[in-house]
Symmetry: C2
Subunit: 255 residues, 2 copies
């Protein structure tokens, strides 16, 4: 696994330095900062012997740039949906994994992972969480659940540092993107209710993320969605020209 | 398990506040400070919504006062003995548990635990580590093993917060103290080499700590050492008056 730590709009340079220190303590070195505050002397001091990580950190303007090329985008949230609110914003903050379960899940996998940590005051927005394939949350006391940014990063990095080296390669982000787009097209073509669409697409993103699809599996699912779209469009008499996937070279022979 | 977090001579109030915040995040509230720096506005700010823990923290002058009444004293160390130095200072920094193993070990136990965290620059001294029954160390990267004090505390508290409530009561510190003293007397009475004594007593402290003795077991061992001392002294013809433990009311019938 290749991990990049993405801090989204961090407000205090002390926290950025502190995260860099924990990254070095646990053997990680790729830090990406989305629209960060300025890093002054205090931030450098908090990094202690991890100034090299701060110096080579990449600053970008948008989260999309920060996660470009990542096959698995992991969002962190301190705000968890209680049973009483399960009907609200379904799929945005639920389900989530503990840091230990995340490490267990990623153990032995080869993939490019982006770990997103949000602002000190608000965390990640719903829009940002929608970009995530997996959510992680640290089980804390209900009387004070909100952790310091660097403390939260430390716990997740501590858990991830205990993983074994990879050997099981996950689907690349391009294939996953094509699969996601194909599922959306299919739902549109069967007139799935538009107002439900965005949340269902988040649901698929999360399911594909938790399922840790291999490239072969992602391609097979992509082929199936293309075949389904072909069938749907034939029945609708629209005869839309769709690229026929390799594994379904005889689509007409299917029921 | 009843946990008190003991910071030994902390140098920066930001770290004290930061530890208080993590304690509240994970549901712990007893903080003891040995000869601490002054806690100013910055320390209070880092505590965030855990100022109550800072306000009721107990400041003491010595580590002995801080651990008074604790049945299990857990020391933390970032400096681990490598294979090449195993012959040096044996029993002082070795063996150590990971935070996860510590939580597994304490799971379901009822006892008073003191978790000691040392100074930001030097950690705990060898003299302080000698007072510990268990050692814990966080597995870090060899390229930068030394963690920030509050980060280290956060990881250990995170692991300990996942334990189940107790049910298995450990020996009280008074009985363990009497057992320790009785073992030392026994070794002295058999003329065990004086120069080895201190390290062997640390070894016993650690073995008794890791073994998680119950009150009954500790009393039985205490009875056995008393019986042994009685036998040794009878053979030496000194006839030292020793209190006869209940479980060995007929010591003369033993071989």
């Amino acid at each position: 696994m290749n991990l990049r730590v993405v801090l989204v709009e961090p407000m205090y340079d002390g926290n950025i330095g502190s995260v860099a220190r924990s990254m070095k303590n646990f053997g990680f070195d790729q830090l990406v900062l989305v629209n960060p505050c300025k890093i002054d002397d205090y931030g450098m001091a908090m990094a202690s012997h991890a100034k090299d990580i701060l110096e080579k950190a990449k600053a970008v303007a948008t989260l999309e740039e920060a996660i470009d090329g990542a096959g698995l985008v992991v969002g962190t949230t301190g705000k968890r949906i209680g049973e009483e609110h399960k009907h609200l914003r379904l799929h945005i903050r639920d389900p989530w994994l503990t840091p230990a379960k995340l490490a267990e899940k990623l153990n032995g996998k080869d993939c490019e992972v982006a770990l997103l940590l949000g602002r000190e005051n608000w965390g990640l927005t719903n829009q940002e969480l929608q970009l995530c394939n997996l959510l992680v949350s640290i089980p804390t006391s209900p009387s004070y659940p909100i952790m310091n940014l660097a403390h939260a990063a430390t716990i997740i990095l501590y858990e991830l540092s205990q993983m074994k080296p990879g050997g099981f390669t996950l689907a690349c982000p391009e294939t996953l993107g094509r699969l996601q787009a194909s599922v959306r097209s299919l739902l549109e073509e069967i007139n799935y209710p538009k107002y439900k669409m965005d949340f269902k697409m988040i649901m698929f993103k999360r399911i594909f993320g938790r399922a840790e699809l291999t490239e072969r599996e992602a391609n097979t699912l992509l082929g199936m969605t293309k075949l389904l779209r072909w069938q749907v469009n034939v029945h609708k008499g629209q005869g839309v020209a769709l690229e026929t996937p390799e594994e379904c070279s005889q689509p007409t022979s299917w029921p």
